[in-house]
Symmetry: C2
Subunit: 150 residues, 2 copies
Protein backbone atom coordinates (compact mmCIF):
# COMPACT_ATOMS: atom_id res chain seq x y z
CA UNK A 1 0.00 0.00 0.00
CA UNK A 2 1.34 3.41 -0.84
CA UNK A 3 1.74 5.83 2.01
CA UNK A 4 0.71 9.44 1.87
CA UNK A 5 0.74 11.75 4.84
CA UNK A 6 -2.80 12.83 5.76
CA UNK A 7 -3.54 16.35 4.43
CA UNK A 8 -4.33 17.69 7.90
CA UNK A 9 -1.00 16.50 9.28
CA UNK A 10 0.66 18.08 6.23
CA UNK A 11 -1.12 21.33 6.97
CA UNK A 12 -0.57 21.43 10.74
CA UNK A 13 3.00 20.10 10.94
CA UNK A 14 6.57 20.62 9.79
CA UNK A 15 8.06 17.43 8.39
CA UNK A 16 11.40 16.74 10.04
CA UNK A 17 12.55 13.45 8.54
CA UNK A 18 12.35 9.70 8.71
CA UNK A 19 13.22 7.06 11.28
CA UNK A 20 13.24 3.40 10.37
CA UNK A 21 9.44 3.02 10.48
CA UNK A 22 7.99 6.47 11.02
CA UNK A 23 8.02 10.00 9.76
CA UNK A 24 8.79 12.52 12.47
CA UNK A 25 6.71 15.70 12.42
CA UNK A 26 6.79 18.86 14.49
CA UNK A 27 3.35 20.27 15.27
CA UNK A 28 3.41 23.92 14.27
CA UNK A 29 2.27 25.09 17.71
CA UNK A 30 4.85 27.03 19.68
CA UNK A 31 2.93 26.62 22.95
CA UNK A 32 4.40 23.14 23.54
CA UNK A 33 7.25 21.11 22.03
CA UNK A 34 4.91 18.69 20.25
CA UNK A 35 6.17 15.92 17.99
CA UNK A 36 4.29 13.27 16.05
CA UNK A 37 5.37 9.87 14.76
CA UNK A 38 3.52 8.50 11.73
CA UNK A 39 4.30 4.93 10.62
CA UNK A 40 4.80 5.06 6.84
CA UNK A 41 2.31 2.29 6.22
CA UNK A 42 -0.87 2.85 4.27
CA UNK A 43 -4.34 2.65 5.75
CA UNK A 44 -3.62 1.91 9.40
CA UNK A 45 -5.74 3.41 12.18
CA UNK A 46 -4.83 1.46 15.31
CA UNK A 47 -1.49 0.31 16.72
CA UNK A 48 -2.75 -3.26 16.98
CA UNK A 49 -3.22 -3.35 13.19
CA UNK A 50 0.55 -3.17 12.73
CA UNK A 51 2.55 -6.40 12.38
CA UNK A 52 4.35 -7.50 15.57
CA UNK A 53 7.67 -6.38 14.03
CA UNK A 54 6.34 -2.94 13.19
CA UNK A 55 4.73 -2.63 16.63
CA UNK A 56 8.10 -3.22 18.28
CA UNK A 57 9.75 -0.74 15.94
CA UNK A 58 7.09 1.85 16.71
CA UNK A 59 7.51 1.31 20.45
CA UNK A 60 11.28 1.67 20.21
CA UNK A 61 11.07 4.79 18.03
CA UNK A 62 8.48 6.25 20.39
CA UNK A 63 10.70 5.60 23.42
CA UNK A 64 13.76 7.06 21.66
CA UNK A 65 11.85 10.19 20.75
CA UNK A 66 10.18 10.58 24.15
CA UNK A 67 13.41 10.07 26.09
CA UNK A 68 15.42 12.48 23.96
CA UNK A 69 12.68 15.12 24.01
CA UNK A 70 12.38 14.83 27.80
CA UNK A 71 16.11 15.45 28.06
CA UNK A 72 16.38 18.13 25.40
CA UNK A 73 13.48 20.18 26.75
CA UNK A 74 13.83 19.27 30.43
CA UNK A 75 10.21 18.04 30.51
CA UNK A 76 8.16 17.68 33.66
CA UNK A 77 6.15 14.98 31.87
CA UNK A 78 5.84 13.45 28.43
CA UNK A 79 2.34 12.87 27.05
CA UNK A 80 2.37 9.99 24.56
CA UNK A 81 -0.91 9.23 22.84
CA UNK A 82 -2.63 7.66 19.87
CA UNK A 83 -6.01 9.42 19.66
CA UNK A 84 -6.99 9.80 16.01
CA UNK A 85 -10.60 10.87 16.43
CA UNK A 86 -10.19 13.59 13.80
CA UNK A 87 -7.27 12.38 11.68
CA UNK A 88 -7.80 8.67 11.08
CA UNK A 89 -4.24 7.93 9.88
CA UNK A 90 -2.33 6.32 12.78
CA UNK A 91 -0.10 8.92 14.44
CA UNK A 92 1.41 9.08 17.90
CA UNK A 93 1.67 12.37 19.74
CA UNK A 94 4.74 13.07 21.90
CA UNK A 95 4.19 16.28 23.81
CA UNK A 96 6.62 17.86 26.24
CA UNK A 97 4.66 19.14 29.22
CA UNK A 98 5.62 21.56 31.97
CA UNK A 99 3.79 22.29 35.19
CA UNK A 100 4.04 25.91 34.01
CA UNK A 101 2.53 25.41 30.54
CA UNK A 102 -0.79 27.07 29.83
CA UNK A 103 -2.86 23.89 29.59
CA UNK A 104 -1.35 22.00 32.57
CA UNK A 105 -2.55 19.63 33.96
CA UNK A 106 -5.16 19.19 31.20
CA UNK A 107 -4.26 17.42 27.95
CA UNK A 108 -3.47 19.87 25.14
CA UNK A 109 -5.79 18.55 22.42
CA UNK A 110 -8.55 20.97 21.62
CA UNK A 111 -7.57 23.21 24.54
CA UNK A 112 -6.19 26.26 22.75
CA UNK A 113 -5.81 27.26 19.11
CA UNK A 114 -2.31 26.63 17.78
CA UNK A 115 0.17 29.50 17.88
CA UNK A 116 2.49 28.87 14.91
CA UNK A 117 6.23 29.25 15.34
CA UNK A 118 7.86 32.42 14.06
CA UNK A 119 10.76 32.02 11.64
CA UNK A 120 13.05 33.20 14.42
CA UNK A 121 11.78 30.49 16.81
CA UNK A 122 12.23 27.81 14.16
CA UNK A 123 15.75 29.07 13.40
CA UNK A 124 16.55 28.37 17.05
CA UNK A 125 14.62 25.12 17.41
CA UNK A 126 15.40 23.16 14.24
CA UNK A 127 19.19 22.95 14.67
CA UNK A 128 18.67 21.71 18.24
CA UNK A 129 16.36 18.98 16.95
CA UNK A 130 18.85 18.09 14.22
CA UNK A 131 21.61 17.68 16.80
CA UNK A 132 19.47 15.67 19.21
CA UNK A 133 18.17 13.24 16.59
CA UNK A 134 21.06 13.19 14.12
CA UNK A 135 21.95 9.53 14.67
CA UNK A 136 18.38 8.22 14.22
CA UNK A 137 16.83 10.67 11.79
CA UNK A 138 17.46 10.21 8.08
CA UNK A 139 16.14 11.85 4.96
CA UNK A 140 15.67 15.21 6.58
CA UNK A 141 12.79 17.03 5.01
CA UNK A 142 13.36 20.37 6.71
CA UNK A 143 16.16 22.75 5.83
CA UNK A 144 17.57 24.66 8.75
CA UNK A 145 19.22 26.95 6.20
CA UNK A 146 15.76 28.34 5.45
CA UNK A 147 15.77 29.75 8.91
CA UNK A 148 19.34 31.08 9.17
CA UNK A 149 20.11 33.71 11.77
CA UNK A 150 21.71 36.07 9.22
CA UNK B 1 10.94 -2.14 44.19
CA UNK B 2 7.56 -2.92 45.67
CA UNK B 3 4.55 -1.98 43.63
CA UNK B 4 1.49 -0.32 45.05
CA UNK B 5 -1.34 0.98 42.95
CA UNK B 6 -1.60 4.77 43.20
CA UNK B 7 -4.39 5.80 45.62
CA UNK B 8 -6.20 7.83 42.96
CA UNK B 9 -6.31 4.84 40.58
CA UNK B 10 -7.56 2.74 43.51
CA UNK B 11 -10.28 5.29 44.16
CA UNK B 12 -11.35 5.87 40.55
CA UNK B 13 -11.15 2.34 39.18
CA UNK B 14 -12.34 -1.23 39.60
CA UNK B 15 -9.46 -3.69 39.64
CA UNK B 16 -10.10 -6.46 37.14
CA UNK B 17 -7.01 -8.65 37.33
CA UNK B 18 -3.48 -9.18 36.15
CA UNK B 19 -1.84 -9.78 32.79
CA UNK B 20 1.81 -10.83 32.58
CA UNK B 21 3.16 -7.32 33.21
CA UNK B 22 0.21 -5.11 34.03
CA UNK B 23 -2.81 -4.76 36.23
CA UNK B 24 -5.99 -4.17 34.26
CA UNK B 25 -8.39 -1.61 35.69
CA UNK B 26 -11.83 -0.43 34.68
CA UNK B 27 -12.36 3.30 35.13
CA UNK B 28 -15.58 3.70 37.10
CA UNK B 29 -17.13 6.00 34.50
CA UNK B 30 -20.09 4.55 32.65
CA UNK B 31 -19.91 7.21 29.90
CA UNK B 32 -17.20 5.30 28.02
CA UNK B 33 -15.75 1.78 28.21
CA UNK B 34 -12.44 2.97 29.69
CA UNK B 35 -9.69 0.57 30.71
CA UNK B 36 -6.26 1.22 32.18
CA UNK B 37 -3.09 -0.87 32.13
CA UNK B 38 -0.62 -0.29 34.97
CA UNK B 39 2.76 -2.08 34.80
CA UNK B 40 3.34 -3.60 38.24
CA UNK B 41 6.75 -2.02 38.57
CA UNK B 42 7.55 0.51 41.26
CA UNK B 43 8.36 4.15 40.61
CA UNK B 44 8.02 4.35 36.83
CA UNK B 45 6.57 7.45 35.16
CA UNK B 46 7.46 7.11 31.48
CA UNK B 47 7.30 4.16 29.08
CA UNK B 48 10.94 4.67 28.09
CA UNK B 49 11.99 4.00 31.71
CA UNK B 50 10.88 0.37 31.32
CA UNK B 51 13.42 -2.26 30.26
CA UNK B 52 13.25 -3.24 26.58
CA UNK B 53 11.65 -6.55 27.59
CA UNK B 54 8.96 -4.85 29.66
CA UNK B 55 8.36 -2.29 26.93
CA UNK B 56 7.61 -5.08 24.46
CA UNK B 57 5.36 -6.79 26.98
CA UNK B 58 3.51 -3.54 27.61
CA UNK B 59 3.06 -2.96 23.89
CA UNK B 60 1.74 -6.49 23.37
CA UNK B 61 -0.64 -6.29 26.34
CA UNK B 62 -1.82 -2.88 25.15
CA UNK B 63 -2.50 -4.22 21.65
CA UNK B 64 -4.30 -7.27 23.02
CA UNK B 65 -6.51 -5.12 25.20
CA UNK B 66 -7.18 -2.51 22.51
CA UNK B 67 -8.02 -5.06 19.84
CA UNK B 68 -10.35 -7.06 22.08
CA UNK B 69 -12.08 -3.94 23.41
CA UNK B 70 -12.57 -2.63 19.87
CA UNK B 71 -14.23 -5.93 18.97
CA UNK B 72 -16.22 -6.40 22.16
CA UNK B 73 -17.64 -2.87 22.14
CA UNK B 74 -17.71 -2.32 18.40
CA UNK B 75 -15.60 0.83 18.75
CA UNK B 76 -15.40 3.60 16.19
CA UNK B 77 -11.91 4.41 17.53
CA UNK B 78 -9.63 3.38 20.35
CA UNK B 79 -7.82 6.14 22.25
CA UNK B 80 -4.58 4.79 23.73
CA UNK B 81 -2.58 7.21 25.84
CA UNK B 82 0.04 7.64 28.54
CA UNK B 83 -0.64 11.09 30.00
CA UNK B 84 0.10 11.03 33.75
CA UNK B 85 -0.01 14.74 34.46
CA UNK B 86 -2.08 14.18 37.60
CA UNK B 87 -1.28 10.58 38.57
CA UNK B 88 2.48 10.13 38.17
CA UNK B 89 2.45 6.30 38.26
CA UNK B 90 2.78 5.02 34.68
CA UNK B 91 -0.63 3.96 33.40
CA UNK B 92 -1.97 3.57 29.88
CA UNK B 93 -5.53 4.55 29.06
CA UNK B 94 -7.51 2.45 26.56
CA UNK B 95 -10.78 4.17 25.84
CA UNK B 96 -13.48 2.92 23.49
CA UNK B 97 -14.80 5.88 21.54
CA UNK B 98 -17.95 6.28 19.45
CA UNK B 99 -18.86 9.08 17.09
CA UNK B 100 -22.03 9.24 19.17
CA UNK B 101 -20.36 9.56 22.61
CA UNK B 102 -20.87 12.79 24.49
CA UNK B 103 -17.26 14.00 24.24
CA UNK B 104 -16.59 13.05 20.59
CA UNK B 105 -14.33 14.09 18.88
CA UNK B 106 -12.59 15.64 21.90
CA UNK B 107 -10.46 13.49 24.22
CA UNK B 108 -12.33 12.46 27.36
CA UNK B 109 -9.85 13.55 30.03
CA UNK B 110 -11.17 16.41 32.10
CA UNK B 111 -14.19 16.79 29.83
CA UNK B 112 -17.02 15.60 32.05
CA UNK B 113 -17.26 14.40 35.64
CA UNK B 114 -17.32 10.62 35.91
CA UNK B 115 -20.71 8.92 36.07
CA UNK B 116 -20.09 5.75 38.15
CA UNK B 117 -21.58 2.46 37.00
CA UNK B 118 -24.70 1.21 38.73
CA UNK B 119 -24.58 -2.28 40.22
CA UNK B 120 -26.92 -3.37 37.47
CA UNK B 121 -24.59 -2.05 34.75
CA UNK B 122 -21.62 -3.80 36.35
CA UNK B 123 -23.57 -7.02 36.62
CA UNK B 124 -23.97 -6.87 32.84
CA UNK B 125 -20.48 -5.63 32.01
CA UNK B 126 -18.14 -7.67 34.21
CA UNK B 127 -19.09 -11.14 32.89
CA UNK B 128 -18.59 -9.85 29.33
CA UNK B 129 -15.11 -8.65 30.26
CA UNK B 130 -14.36 -11.94 31.98
CA UNK B 131 -15.31 -13.86 28.84
CA UNK B 132 -13.38 -11.56 26.50
CA UNK B 133 -10.17 -11.62 28.54
CA UNK B 134 -10.36 -15.04 30.15
CA UNK B 135 -7.29 -16.46 28.40
CA UNK B 136 -4.99 -13.53 29.23
CA UNK B 137 -6.31 -12.27 32.56
CA UNK B 138 -5.22 -14.04 35.73
CA UNK B 139 -5.69 -13.38 39.40
CA UNK B 140 -9.07 -11.78 38.95
CA UNK B 141 -9.65 -9.17 41.59
CA UNK B 142 -13.30 -8.54 40.86
CA UNK B 143 -16.07 -10.91 41.74
CA UNK B 144 -18.88 -11.03 39.24
CA UNK B 145 -20.93 -12.84 41.88
CA UNK B 146 -21.13 -9.53 43.74
CA UNK B 147 -23.21 -8.26 40.91
CA UNK B 148 -25.44 -11.25 40.21
CA UNK B 149 -28.66 -10.75 38.29
CA UNK B 150 -30.79 -12.39 41.01
Amino acid sequence: MTFQLHPQLQRDCIRLGRLELCQLLLMNDSQYPWFILVPEIGDIREIYQLSPTDRSLLQEESCQIAKRLAGLFNADKMNVAAIGNLVPQLHIHHIVRYRSDKAWPAPVWGKFDAVPYTEHQLAELLPKIKTAFDDILTRYTFRTSNFGSA
